[in-house]
Structures are given as structure tokens and as C-alpha cells.
């Protein structure tokens, strides 16, 4: 099993660094380019959420990203020490329930898709807050 941890300051400018690294490291698995892109996407969505929602866009905090590559799974843990998310939000997020009315572009939302995308792409998504550390765990079986 291979492991690496990334730490970035909570500045959106740094998110691509973690995302691109994670995409590249998917090449150590059997994942193809499209799956690697999706792993990057989930990482970016979750890190963006920590920066924007948990840290309210203050750029001086740390976001920690744990990557674990095993034979049978690919695991990403995104951790912050900011505002804890209400667990119901994650539970309710569902790509099939996005309330967009495609007949009227005015009614299409400009946000609110991140967690639904993560849950659709990943095989297992959990959120825990322990001792002030919020941790979103995403697992993809390979």
C-alpha cells in the first residue's frame, strides 16, 4: 500500500496542485484517464467545499488531504478544522434529485452539485467530525 499526505493553505489557488497530483497518481492504479479525471474532480470538489464553506474563504487555514492507494481501493480523506457540515446535507445529496428545470434555464442552479457528484462517482462517502477535525472520506474500489 502507498500513502501520501498533501497539505495546502485554504486558498483556492492551491487546489489545482492537489487535484493534478491526485490525477497523476491514479496512473499507479488500473484506472483509465476518465476515472483519474473523476478522482481529481472529487478531490477538487471536496477541497473547494472545505475552503469555501468550512473556512468561509479565509486563506490562512490548512486543508489536509490523505491519499491511500491499495490494490483494491483508492481512498481520499479531506480534512479541515473549520465549520462542521450538517451530516444531513451529505445524506440528501443525490445526482438524481438535483432540482433543475431544464426547460427553463432561469431555474437552473449555479451551484449545489459538488456533493452529489462526489456521491455519484465514489463508491463510499462518509463525513465525521472528531475533536474539531472534519473529515470527508471518499473510497473508490478498483
Amino acid at each position: 500500500m502507498k500513502k501520501i499526505k498533501f497539505i495546502i493553505k485554504s486558498d483556492l489557488e492551491n487546489v489545482a496542485l492537489a487535484g493534478m497530483s491526485i490525477n497523476k497518481l491514479c496512473s499507479l492504479t488500473t484506472m483509465d484517464d476518465s476515472q483519474s479525471f473523476q478522482m481529481e474532480l472529487c478531490a477538487v470538489e471536496a477541497i473547494n467545499n472545505s475552503i469555501i464553506h468550512a473556512y468561509n474563504n479565509e486563506i490562512t487555514n490548512d486543508v489536509e488531504i490523505y491519499l491511500e492507494i491499495a490494490d483494491k481501493y483508492f481512498q481520499l480523506d479531506i480534512c479541515d478544522r473549520g465549520k462542521t457540515m450538517d451530516k444531513d446535507i451529505l445524506e440528501r445529496a443525490d445526482i438524481n434529485l438535483l432540482k433543475d428545470n431544464f426547460d427553463n434555464p432561469e431555474e437552473i442552479s449555479e451551484s449545489g452539485r459538488g456533493l452529489a457528484v462526489i456521491k455519484d462517482v465514489m463508491d463510499k462517502v462518509t463525513y465525521k467530525s472528531v475533536n474539531g477535525i472534519n473529515r470527508l472520506t471518499m473510497i473508490k474500489y478498483i
Partner: protein, 110 residues
């Protein structure tokens, strides 16, 4: 992200290069607003070189679409990379955008 503006047969083509994400989405909205100021509301986004998009990037596309729709214009997407197209499909947003294989076809569709 780099954004290049060009007028092709009277249609504004914005060629995007790089990542359409939380960092660059404001730049796209600004570029579209600049076009509207010049009364260019029929717009093509050439996305051949967009190699990453996330939900903020999708949000900026939706936002731009709403803005130009209000001016009776449209935003049409061209030359999506497979993985970018896949995310539009995942989120069903391909239903609200007209998507073309290449920028010229998108321009001619107006």
C-alpha cells in the same frame, strides 16, 4: 485559465485554455459580460483546450447562459474533451447547452 476572444462570421468565439474551476470561473463571466457590453450576445465557447472542469466551472457556464439569455443571446459549446463532456452528462447539464463537435459548426449554427 487563458481566454482568447475572436469574432468569426459576426459571432463571438471565446477560446478557453486550461482549467475551468473555482479560480477561473469569474474570468469567464467577466469575458462574457465584456461581450454583452459590445452587444455580442451570440457566443461560442471553444473548449478544445479545457482539460478540467468542476462544479464551479459548470456553475459559471450556467450563469453565463442565463446572462446572455436575458439579452436574447445564447452560449453554445464546442469541442468538448471527453472528460468534460462526461461531467456535463453526469449533471444532465448537456440538456441546457447546445453542444457542437467544433467551433466552426457552432458558429454556423447561429
Amino acid at each position: 485559465m487563458e481566454i482568447y476572444e475572436e469574432i468569426n462570421d459576426g459571432i463571438a468565439v471565446l477560446t478557453l485554455e486550461g482549467r475551468l474551476d473555482a479560480v477561473s470561473s469569474k474570468g469567464l463571466k467577466d469575458a462574457v459580460n465584456e461581450l454583452l457590453k459590445k452587444e455580442k450576445s451570440s457566443i461560442v465557447l471553444n473548449m478544445l483546450k479545457v482539460d478540467f472542469i468542476d462544479s464551479s466551472g459548470l456553475g459559471s457556464l450556467v450563469s453565463c447562459l442565463k446572462t446572455v439569455n436575458n439579452e436574447r443571446g445564447d452560449i453554445r459549446l464546442a469541442s468538448l474533451q471527453d472528460q468534460v463532456r462526461a461531467i456535463l452528462e453526469l449533471t444532465r447539464l448537456y440538456r441546457v447547452f447546445q453542444i457542437f463537435d467544433d467551433s466552426d459548426t457552432a458558429v454556423k449554427s447561429y
